[in-house]
Amino acid sequence: MTKYIIKRLVMAVLTVFIVATLTFFLMNAVPGGPYEAEKSISPQAKAALEAKFGLDQPLFTQYLTYMKNILHGDFGPSLKQRGREVIDIILTKFPVSAKVGGLSVLVSLIVGIPVGCIAALNRGKASDSTIIVIATIGIAVPSFVVCSLSMYLFGVKLGWLPTVGLMSWKNYIMPVFALSFYPTAYIVRLMRSSMLDALGQDYMRTARAKGVSEAVSLFKHALRNAILPVVTYVGPMMAYTLTGSFIVEKVFTIPGLGGEFVSSITNRDYMMIMGTTIFLATLMVFINFVVDIVYKIIDPRINLK
């Protein structure tokens, strides 16, 4: 186990390194630069700024300097938001996204798993068909439609919920709803099919023949097997949701990392792009690692090598 963890750690560092390197060179291969768009800036001022951030150096030298700095935990200053460190921006924006995202993950699990099970247990009945139809719609409808519709209906038309910012708990309802819409629907479908599969397995008959009650055979014997595909899905879903959705953050004016990332790209804020990319890659790798461990705990057949 420790051997496995060390191996995974090495892999993780390597993955993040490769992502960083690729991003660095791809980003620079795209024409344009951080100060191109600013008409007001004089050529002298631009040259001075570029010299200050080392952008006048050869690309490879820049790369080496950058990599050396991040080894010391220095992600550099934002090129656009003057006087702010990249790491500070990430550390103030990420918690905002993570809070909305984390709630969404919770909601999709808390709703998705039981509803999927209920559908499976009522297979072929009206309740099952209703759940399938709703879940299919949930998967098919794009998130901006969910955002705009709920915004229009509950925010504007009915005026029940606030539409801007994250001042009170009420502000969370719509973004969390919008963000958990798709994953909930997906988990419902996943859970339903894996539960049906588990219910038909021979070990369920064994449990019944032993005299196990329905509740125990469902929660102990079926659920633990049926939940495995959901665990696999939750990993990437969590990484995606926690880091904030650009669309949801834009529509509901949430000051999160998702929006920040997108604007850093349009602004060509090289330092910011690199910083967020490395952060997201690390988070992704970490979550996947945790998911693998959880998977191993649930399913002893998984051999961690």
Binding site: Q201, Y203, T206, K210, N225, D299, P300, R301
Partner: protein, 334 residues
């Protein structure tokens, strides 16, 4: 009249599927006494497993008892509710299944799955249940039970898993063990070991056994009595000697003919008799075996042959034997 351990009387059981009523059991009557070994043979789909499930009260979902009774150990199984049935299952009657590879839950240890049965039906605590589980594993011939108990099913071989299934089944020393083709999925050498184990445990614990199989060799050597099933009916039932040497039903005769030599070393699997099995959605009015029977007569197509008793325990449902009776009776009158 003595009380039988299992007494199935005129059992009709159907599966109410969207395609229609599948009459899986048509008038099954069968009994079993304490400590007895009953073999149940018959081709695929003849209703062997459905009969076993009916005794356990675990008939799968669209299935219902239409009429008749299943009495087990004094309980009228059909009239009990789930809760009452749960107290009987795993305690008074246990079942092991064909495929040990899939019959154990892959995500729990062997120990956990054995202890579950013990904790359910006794008031032993966790510690005592664990000790009992180790004891059971030793009983079913598993080496290093203390180590095995912590392992997961995928870490054991097929034969070993079937031993674990037997350990689970015997956890509460049931009065009846139903073994539904317990060795079909195993290697030939392992098959013999498992059957030997079942017989050994039967002698040690004194339980009754219902052995469901395709293998006539197995029943001939292990069983006191044999029930032959065809199309959801016990078409002949008697002692092992009755069935092999005093065969009455044409289907049983066909089965025996398809076995080259019973006393050969290798046990013999049933070879299919020519013709197709009965359509259980639309069973024929007469003898279900009629379309495949070489001796088929007019009456066979029209009317279901009634049971005829040759002795207290040997009975069969075939018009041919009735005819012989008639003729004999006729002769006597002359």
């Amino acid at each position: 009249m003595s009380e039988h351990l299992v007494d199935i009387r005129n059992l009709h059981l159907s599966f109410f599927t969207p395609a229609g009523e599948v009459k899986a059991l048509n008038d099954v009557s069968l009994f079993l006494d304490e400590g007895e070994v009953l073999g149940v043979v018959g081709e695929s789909g003849s209703g062997k497993s459905v009969t076993a499930s009916a005794i356990m009260g675990i008939t799968a979902d669209p299935g219902r008892i239409v009429s008749g009774k299943v009495i087990f150990n004094g309980h009228d199984i059909g009239s009990l509710d789930e809760k009452e049935l749960r107290k009987i299952r795993g305690k008074e009657v246990s079942m092991i299944f064909q495929d040990p590879m899939t019959s154990l839950n892959p995500v729990y240890t062997v120990g956990n799955q054995i202890e579950e049965a013990i904790l359910l039906h006794t008031d032993k605590n966790k510690q005592e249940a664990r000790e009992r589980a180790v004891e059971l594993l030793r009983l079913v011939g598993i080496n290093e039970p203390e180590k095995r108990i912590k392992q997961y099913p995928h870490e054991l071989s097929g034969g070993m898993r079937q031993r674990v299934m037997i350990a689970i089944a015997l956890a509460c020393e049931p009065k009846l063990l139903i073994a539904d083709e317990p060795t079909t999925a195993l290697d030939v050498t392992i098959q013999a070991q498992i059957l030997e184990l079942i017989m050994e445990l039967k002698h040690k614990l004194g339980m009754a056994v219902i052995l469901i199989t395709h293998d006539l060799g197995i029943v001939s050597s292990m069983c006191d009595r044999i029930a032959v099933m065809y199309a959801g009916k016990v078409i002949e039932c008697g002692t092992t000697d009755d069935i092999f040497y005093n065969t009455k039903h044409e289907y049983t005769k066909g089965l025996l003919r398809s076995v080259p030599n019973l006393y050969e070393e290798e046990s013999t699997r049933l070879v299919a008799i020519e013709g197709t099995p009965v359509d259980m959605l639309n069973p024929p009015a007469g003898c279900p075996f009629a379309p495949r029977c070489p001796q088929c007569m007019k009456i066979c197509l029209k009317e279901m042959p009634p049971y005829h008793e040759f002795s207290d325990i040997h009975y069969s449902a075939c018009w041919l034997t009735q005819k012989a009776e008639f003729e004999e009776a006729g002769k006597g009158e002359e």
